[in-house]
Symmetry: C2
Subunit: 305 residues, 2 copies
């Protein structure tokens, strides 16, 4: 089964304490696709400019990412330049050039409209709503968002949230959206808007998945060498939604497993620049990391006396 | 089996967004004892001033905290006044009066010198070293510390660390001590000084226990109502070391279980002011929370195809 992703396809220039990379593949749809395609076929919808090195996407296509929906428009591609300091926690944005992305209007190819799983990556909620108009009856629609839209497009975002099944966002965004400091309260507030599942990403501190009557916590893999945090959240979403798509099973037990695949893929993404590590990954490496993540939190309860 | 704790016994005045409390029981040894005594007998060594409402410690004594080592000195008790803002993350210290604590010189009563488990709560590393001179051959010695000692007593602290089996500290302290941003690297650096186990507390983000060849992660219980974070770390240590003392089992499997008891006790401590919630707790409530914490991270791996 394929998963449809709509989001940004960009060129990133990144500086970390360990090195720098210029004009490498980036963008939410790119990271999502690189991660999800390890588990299931992906249908990508996005836009690039006439300057985009399309040939660099070939390895993704070879791995089952259908690029039919990748529009090429006249103009410059979306470029982001950022820097991470010593603690690698927050990216400092040095430059953002939206280019053709500023006029992006997603057109879902006919053959993608039946996609059973849909991920609306972080773009204008009006466009996310527009995508929902174009797809038929997906089994599950998930979306991401960011501080900018929470502030500037609140009514549209609230409308979107009433129409999706699952939302992924980071802890700061969950607090900003709900205006609640406590994450349990924030998640409940968001679920009251509509989504059955709220996935709160906390970076190196792991991720919480809130459902109506269950909470699951996935730890982050304790990496000794975090190289470049860019794209970790979208790779997490790719592993998570990709696993759900592959299995087609929305039981609580399988959702939990899916979150662990998200955590595993997110941890691989940060080991190298861009999607480099995701492109060299094998399925057995992923399974092995999921096993290690399981071992990280496994303990046996005391037997009753 | 008893656990010996040496640390502060104070009077706290705390203000949170939910209320305020004046001159309530506080201090590292107090929180540790309140938590650990739910699991095993405790021997407390500390000092209070002539103004201390000793009778308020009676419920602790009734629960198996031996106060023989609690010295009463002429002068004022250690008082701390602090405030938590909206996000409850960091305490803002408004006043600290060390009082008789500034001249504290721990004297371990003869009957405590055989204690098999010892917790050196956060005090001057020179005093922690001095305690080690006074005890016989403990099975396990654990210590805590803080930013102030890391900066001002580094040589003594490094000497102490070469003599303990386990250290608990928070993520900021681990980074400050090791001068490494990455926590995996920080923990390895600290273990190279001597301790076989490094327990890094991350508050609402859980706790990591690093051992020579194992890493364990205990999530924090996702509380909807955190009331007063004061004492969470020492209550965590009380549950953790208290459980180890009760079982006397230092296997990796049991250490993992012990950390979960630490996480459970830490989560109860923040539900009310001071040690109030810890004093009303029952063993079955603790076991139930450990079960909930287990459920929080439990998932089944995918069966091989």
């Amino acid at each position: 089964m394929p998963v449809l992703v709509v989001g940004s396809v960009a060129l990133d220039s990144v500086e970390t304490p360990f090195g720098k990379a210029d004009d490498v593949l980036g963008g939410s749809a790119t990271f999502f696709s690189a991660a999800a395609s390890l588990l299931t076929p992906v249908q990508l919808v996005g836009v690039v400019g006439s300057d985009y090195p399309i040939e660099k996407l070939e390895p993704l296509a070879a791995r089952g990412v259908d690029l039919t929906g990748l529009e090429r428009a006249d103009g410059q591609s979306f470029r982001w330049r950022g820097r991470y300091r010593h603690d690698l926690n927050a990216a400092e944005t040095l430059e953002t050039h939206l280019g053709v992305f500023s006029r992006f209007s997603p057109k879902i190819p006919d053959k993608f409209r039946d996609a059973p799983f849909v991920f609306l990556a972080n773009i204008d909620p009006r466009l996310q709503l527009d995508v929902l108009q174009q797809v038929k009856r997906p089994t599950l629609v998930a979306c991401d968002t960011m501080n900018f839209w929470i502030q500037s497009r609140r009514p549209d975002l609230l409308e979107l949230l009433s129409k999706v099944d699952l939302v992924t966002l980071n802890d700061g965004e969950a607090r900003q959206l709900s205006e609640k400091v406590n994450l349990v309260q924030a998640a409940k507030w968001i679920m009251d808007l509509g989504p059955r599942h709220v996935n709160i990403k906390k970076g190196e501190h792991g991720a919480l998945m809130f459902s109506r009557d269950s909470v699951f916590f996935a730890p982050a893999y304790p990496l000794e060498g975090v190289f470049d945090p860019t794209g970790a959240g979208d790779s997490f979403a790719g592993g998570f939604i990709g696993y759900l798509t592959r299995t087609g099973d929305l039981s609580d037990a399988n959702m939990r497993r899916a979150v662990m695949y998200g955590s595993a893929l997110g941890s691989f993404a940060v080991e190298k620049f861009s999607i480099e590590r995701l492109m060299s990954l094998t399925r057995s490496e992923i399974d092995e990391r999921v096993r290690q993540l399981k071992h990280l939190t496994t303990f046996e309860e005391e037997l009753p006396a």
